[in-house]
Symmetry: C2
Subunit: 200 residues, 2 copies
């Protein structure tokens, strides 16, 4: 069986949100699993010198037009959350903790977090909200709440973010397939081809 | 007949180079003409706060890997030019001058300029090289050389660049179809769909 696809995303990234709806059917066509790897764009931007899209003149306006258009195209519910963007370390840590217990639960939780933020406008950067999303999904929010205080989980998440940066992950979504990098939801069709042909 | 597609590009943009190979077949499918509109990313970056991709840690490395990969995919000849990036005001002015005489000549020249830079490594930012490319194409390089000194042509090109920025053109390639903006060569499939469906 081929290697899984590594899917890097920040929960504050609307393009990551779109990708979260598209990656699984694509991976399934190639009989590949998906490893959901939340990361944090803040530390990546410190390395790359980039800054949040919404803060950039011209580019920010384009994004504000483009994201709802893209969501309409794919039939994905979307409403601009407020505040935006936000720090997303709490749900990122939660995903890593859940992943070790049960990857399926982690994926279900990650999708629910994205939906809570970009469809329901809930501030998932707030740890209490991140826990509430877990509770809404029937996950063990009490154990998760304790885990979020665990220095080991904090260190693990930090190491995951640093590792992503080391691999060159500078944006969201970002994919690695057999070490081949693909940045952006727009690149999924080419990544699809790359897997079908085994490169070119 | 539907409105033309406006195709904005900087001659120093490798993704613009790729788009120059893809835009015409796409436009033809929709019975649309293409208006080739060279622009300059330098002034746009002054507004957006962006900077050349190659200078950005992580993102620059991705681009250096991605552009040759994309060119292999589409069978487009490519070799990294040196120096890169460059200022491209000379060939941009030449395209605007040629366009007024004969748009077909302008398009032929624009393609030749891109090929000279990204396939043959010629420094087309140098006005003498930009003129030589015109001569190689059998165009009137002497008249063009005189035109490049004309303050009116300089003013016209400057106004075109400023107008592009006003329209929100912050990168290359950038397309406007019936006032709908699409940024990046990756977006051509969605632009294709947009035209086919008349939006969504």
């Amino acid at each position: 069986m081929p290697e899984p696809i590594d899917f890097y995303f920040d929960f504050s990234s609307p393009y990551g949100y779109v990708a979260a709806h598209l990656i699984e059917p694509l991976a399934q066509r190639h009989i590949r699993a998906v490893r959901w790897r939340p990361t944090l764009l803040g530390p990546a931007f410190q390395v790359s010198g980039n800054r949040p899209l919404g803060d950039q003149p011209l580019k920010g306006d384009y994004m504000r037009h483009d994201v709802p258009r893209l969501c309409r195209r794919y039939g994905i519910p979307f409403a601009w959350p407020e505040p935006f963007p936000i720090g997303t370390v709490a749900p990122a840590r939660a995903v890593y903790w859940l992943w070790d217990k049960d990857p399926d639960e982690a994926v279900r939780y990650a999708k629910a977090v994205y939906r809570a933020y970009f469809a329901e406008g809930r501030n998932i950067g707030d740890a209490a909200v991140a826990l509430q999303v877990a509770a809404d999904e029937g996950l063990d929010a009490e154990a998760l709440g304790q885990a979020l205080q665990d220095p080991d989980l904090k260190a693990r998440t930090k190491a995951a973010v640093e590792h992503a940066i080391k691999l060159g992950v500078f944006g969201s979504p970002f994919f690695l397939v057999d070490e081949e990098p693909f940045w952006g939801v727009d690149r999924l069709p080419l990544m699809d081809e790359w897997m079908a042909r085994g490169g070119w």
